[in-house]
């Protein structure tokens, strides 16, 4: 089975720790695939490895083309959007500058972005460092949506947000899922159940389960793979 993104035998060492020990999976075209697992298991590292932000070994193919040898900026240019775990908006730049920086080849979809996040248009001249957590999250997502990407890599977009905002973000992602493909790292199972089509579960540096999002209805499975008391 070939997908939009094909990962084979991915290994990542951080210091002396063998974080990813031969991770292999496919991300199918269309909709959201959720990447799940306990804390610290390597989900964020997997996303960073795809982008080449950490040294890694293994095969990475995007729409059939091998990208593991390319430098990060080239990988991104082939059509990857990234929403990092800590948002990483540039605090000293304005909202508008943060977005402008993300422009690639002039096909910037400002209409879409301002439709999804009208507040960003109002705050265009505000320094991103003075925004609230939720607003920064909007900038981070808007940045990734600005260009028509083949695949979005989204890392815990609801982390640290108030429930109302979580719902807003989920709503945006629902819109996104209609037209684009995304690999979503998310701790909140409620969000995953609402948005994801398929799931991939990591444990101890390897993939231990792939399947449909409906698998999460199986409580025994959830308990086994993700531990007790996982956020609903």
């Amino acid at each position: 089975m070939s997908g939009l993104l094909e990962i084979r035998d991915l290994h990542v060492f951080l210091g002396e720790s063998h974080v990813l020990q031969g991770v292999s999976f496919d991300v199918p075209e269309g909709g959201i695939t959720a990447l799940l697992g306990r804390n610290g298991v390597g989900k964020t590292t997997t996303l960073r490895a795809v982008l080449g932000l950490v040294p890694r070994r293994g095969s990475i193919r995007l729409a059939g083309a091998a990208i593991e040898r390319d430098p990060t900026h080239k990988i991104v240019q082939s059509g990857l959007g990234y929403v990092p775990e800590d948002r990483d908006v540039f605090a000293g730049l304005t909202v508008e500058e943060n977005l402008r920086l993300a422009e690639r080849n002039g096909a910037a979809r400002y209409d879409l972005v301002y439709e999804l996040f009208p507040e960003l248009k109002e705050r265009a001249r505000q320094r991103a460092g003075t925004l609230s957590g939720g607003q920064q999250q909007m900038v981070a997502i808007a940045r990734a949506l600005l260009n028509p990407n083949r695949l979005l890599l989204i890392d815990e977009p609801t982390k640290g947000l108030a429930p109302a905002l979580v719902s807003d973000v989920a709503h945006v992602l629902e819109r996104v899922a209609e037209a684009e493909t995304a690999l979503l790292v998310e701790q909140s199972l409620g969000v995953v159940r609402r948005l994801a089509r398929s799931i991939i579960v990591l444990d101890q540096g390897r993939v231990v389960h792939t399947g449909a999002a409906a698998d999460l209805d199986d409580e025994a499975l959830v308990h086994r793979l993700l531990g007790v008391g996982h956020a609903a």
Binding site: L53, T72, H73, V76, D88, A91
Partner: protein, 293 residues
Amino acid sequence: MSTFVLLTITGLGLGAMYFLVASGLSLIYGLMGVLNFAHGAFLTVGAYATWFTESKLGGISSVTLRFLLASLVGLAVGALFAALVELVLIRPLYLRHIEQVLVTVGLSLAMVALVQGIWGNDARLYAVPNWFRETTHVGGATIPNDRWLDIGAAVLVLAGLKAFLRYTRYGLVIRAGVENRAMVTALGIDVRKAFTLVFAIGGLAAALAGILSGVYFTEVDPGRGTSLLIFAFIVVVIGGLGSLTGSAVASVVVGLSQQYVNYYSSGVGDLSVVLLLALVLLARPATLAGRTA
């Protein structure tokens, strides 16, 4: 009072030179994490290129014109040399910061030796337009006009750099890169071009400092780059690595304190600057605890 005015203007003039060197250092370190010991070499190369060109333009009778043309050449040489250094020596060592620093160390030693070899250790006189040698009277003090040149140049460069950073795409990339280089690449931007540009800018500013120092001290010698570089490092560290405004403020502070302390306490000015650095670092070491990619 007039002494005070003279000291102040002179301090600002020196501070201007420090700023010109520090601005490049600060940007380079802020964006690339490279502690560029070869920056003094950019200064020396620019200064000597100017002197050399000037000496070959004997056919032109106007000293001012000769000086201007020679300066343009010196600035171009400084910028090109710096860009070349980045492309050939720094870029291949991407992310290997220690090796990058070491390479700049080796280059600084080699360049000074090369200049010594070609033109000897003795200082070379700068032929300077008369206006710089004349003086103006301000607040009862007699100020040599080259001080105005130094201050003016620094202000222009500061304004120019700020405008560049604010209004151009490369400026945007650099500002973002100083904050978080990895994220800039994760937006699909090839930061390496910005690196070369920053080196070129640094080389230009350092060459300008070299030329101005030639006017200020009426001569250049192979060691000029190194001696100004030390002060520039101090300025950059006090002002905050990566901060252009910080460097500007710090260079004023350093230039002024050097003059005042030197005068009012017979010669301990240089020492006081060094002490100032130590104090600043001890008070807030956190700002310097390493830059990550």
